[in-house]
Structures are given as C-alpha cells and as structure tokens.
C-alpha cells in the first residue's frame, strides 16, 4: 500500500489509524524505548464524569510516553479517540500540558526533548467545559514557547480528526502531519449543519466534508505540512523527518500579514475547495509557490 521508502522495510497495510492511542505512541518511538508516564495504574481519572453518571477511563484518554525518536529524547502525547471522542477534560488536558511544560523546561536547560502530539479529538469535553478550555490554553502557550527551541510536531491521522480548541493547538505546531482520512477544522460538520442549516453544509456528504477540511485539502492549502498514507512506518518517517529538518524559519501562526492578505482574497459567498487551493497554495515556507 505505502510507497514510502524508509530504512525499515514497510509491511503492507500496517494501519496507523487502527491503532489505539498507546500503540500509536509506541509506533512513533524507537523500538523498546516506550516508557509511559501517569499510565492507567496511576488511576488519575476525571473527577467530573462520575458526578454526571459517566464511566471514567483510568488514563482519562491521554497517553503520555517518553522514549527516543532517531536516538534523541522525545515525549509523545496521544489522545484516545474511542474514549469520549478524544475530548479534552481537566485531567487529560493537564497531562498533555504538563508533559509539554516539562519538555520546555528541559529545552531551556539545553537538553532538547522532541515533542509530538497525536491529535484525535473533538476538542473540549463538554462535561468539563471551562476546565478543558483553560487547559487547552496552557497547552497552546507551551507549544508556542517550545517551538522556539525544537519543532513541535502534530499528527492528525483520523478518523475523528481534530476540532474545536484543539484545532488551534494543532495550528500552532511547527509541523503538522496528516493523512487523507484526517480532518482539521474549528467546528465539525455536524455542528455546522445544526447551527447554519443543511443548505450551508450537509454533514452526511462525506466527499464534500473531506474536500473542505480533509487532510489532502489541508496539505494542498499549506495548512498542513506532510500528507502521508495510513501506514505506521509512513507516519513515523514523516515525524522523524520533521525533526531532522529542524526549526522552520517562521511558524505559520506568526505569518499574520501573509494570511490576512490571503483571507482578503477569499469571498465567503463563492469560496470553493478549488478556489481555496488557488489562494492558499502549497506550504508557505516551501519554494514551489506559483502554480496558477
């Protein structure tokens, strides 16, 4: 399936999407180096879900793992989409924010730790509302501080995608790896249909939804950096390459003038996936730009 030529010979159809969060984290780290922090047996669960009659998961849906990537110290934060849609609660969010803050402290002392975030999330966990929002802000602050020292690499593999406040966190990363199955957007298609009407967007029209916010479109419009097949080796290769490339000149979210100019060219009345590609062509820090 995959055409990626990586040193480790890829096996056929070694799906990354089908892996649960813990195995995703393990797949990105060098073999044998996976070491989980605050794992399920530490039982740091959401204190809020039982009050609302909802069963907890022992790791609150967030896996934090230390290890190495290409021999360099790394920390991977992976969200489990099967538990509450990968939503960010007080505990799951705090685990990720704290992992990033610890990596930042190491980086500031000259010991570089490579941070990877596996976004598979509908955003804030509604049952924990403001606490989830607050901790997403902490995560975003940590990403912005970290990316001065080391690339912060995000992965959106699918099938949940990355939405809400976490889409903003993904947008702040230095390098975003996506698959065709992945999706990145502020509001999910169901929310748009519910709030703006089916004339605006038919959320059951999967082709349309992916044309708008799918991984391929996000890569073609320069809002994601690497488009890979659903293959653990391909994802791992793209993440390792992002770190090997080092720090990008200017993070996307710091290119305010560029993006304001592009937005000014968009007319919301007649914007299409194709017209988006024409304006938001390719990666902003790549050299191939002028292509109609």
């Amino acid at each position: 399936m995959s055409t990626l030529a990586s040193p480790a010979a890829p096996r056929l159809a070694d799906s990354f999407i089908e892996l649960p969060a813990r195995e995703r984290a393990r797949a990105l780290l060098d073999p044998g180096t996976f070491r989980e922090l605050l794992g399920p047996f530490d039982r740091i669960e959401s204190p809020w879900l039982p009050l609302q009659g909802i069963v907890c998961q022992a790791d609150d849906g967030a896996v934090i793992a230390r290890g190495t990537i290409d021999g360099q110290p790394a920390v991977v934060a992976a969200l489990e989409s099967a538990f509450q849609g990968g939503s960010i609660g007080e505990v799951s969010g705090s685990k990720i924010a704290a992992a990033l803050e610890l990596a930042l402290r190491d980086c500031e002392r000259g010991r570089i730790v490579r941070p990877v975030i596996l976004f598979e999330t509908g955003g804030v966990r509604l049952q924990e509302a403001n606490l989830g929002l607050a901790v997403i802000a902490e995560m975003q602050a940590a990403i912005v501080a970290l990316r001065r020292h080391v690339p912060v690499v995000g992965v959106i593999a699918g099938m949940v995608g990355c939405f809400g406040g976490m889409s903003l966190a993904a947008a702040l990363t230095s390098h975003l790896v996506v698959t065709r199955q992945g999706r990145l957007g502020m509001n999910g298609p169901e929310v748009i249909e519910q709030e703006a009407g089916i004339e605006e967007l038919d959320s059951s029209d999967r082709r349309r939804v992916w044309q708008l916010i799918g991984g391929e479109q996000r890569a073609a419009t320069g809002l994601a950096d690497s488009l890979v097949e659903d293959d653990a080796h391909a994802v791992r290769g793209a993440v390792a390459q992002a770190f090997a490339q080092g720090l990008a000149s200017t993070p996307r979210s710091a290119q305010v003038e560029t993006y304001l100019a592009r937005l000014a060219e968009i007319d919301p009345q007649d914007v299409t996936p194709e017209s988006m590609r024409a304006v938001f062509h390719g990666a902003p820090h790549s050299t191939r730009k002028e292509q109609s």
């Binding site: 813990r22 989980e36 794992g39 399920p40 047996f41 069963v55 998961q57 022992a58 538990f83």
Partner: protein, 106 residues
Amino acid sequence: MEHLTFEYPAQRALKARAHVGVVGSGDLEVLLSPAAAMTATVDVRTSVDGYGHIWKSVLDRFFQRYDGAAHIEINDFGATPGVVALRLAEAIETLDADSNGGGNTP
C-alpha cells in the same frame, strides 16, 4: 452508572499486572493487578444499569477456569457479555506474555 463488586476464591498469587481495552462504545477497559489477599476481587463500573446478574454469570464462568489472586477493575461502556469475556481472556494472556512484570502494558 452502576458500581458492582464480586469476590472469588484464589489459589495462587500474581506478580505482574495487565491493562487492556478502552472505555469506548460497546467496549470496556480491564485493569488487572495482584490482589492484597488470596482472594480475587472484581470492581465493575458500568454505564448500563440493571445487569448485575449477567455480570455475575460472565464472572462466574471466568473464575471457573481462572484461579489467580487478581484485583480486577472494569470500566465498562456497554460491552456485550461476549466482549467482556474476550477482554478478560486478553488480560490474562497479556499478563502471561508480560509476566516479567513492571510495564503498564504489553
């Protein structure tokens, strides 16, 4: 949400622990660790109320064959009895494969 507890006799102590599954639709999470005494204990938290008798049947059957002094915690999100039995078997298998111990998961 309902909280159920069960106890079964045990014959041998455990040294390792195992974690399998996810609290997702139709699935469950199993945390298996050594019990404090020579008795197996099961703590079930389930999203579906009123199925205590089914849980007892599934666990009775499981402990007909299993004699480890395990403390088993189950976080259930509407798994069918078949899925529960498979996850329990998977936890034992993981324990055996990982019996050098220490790790959270295989």
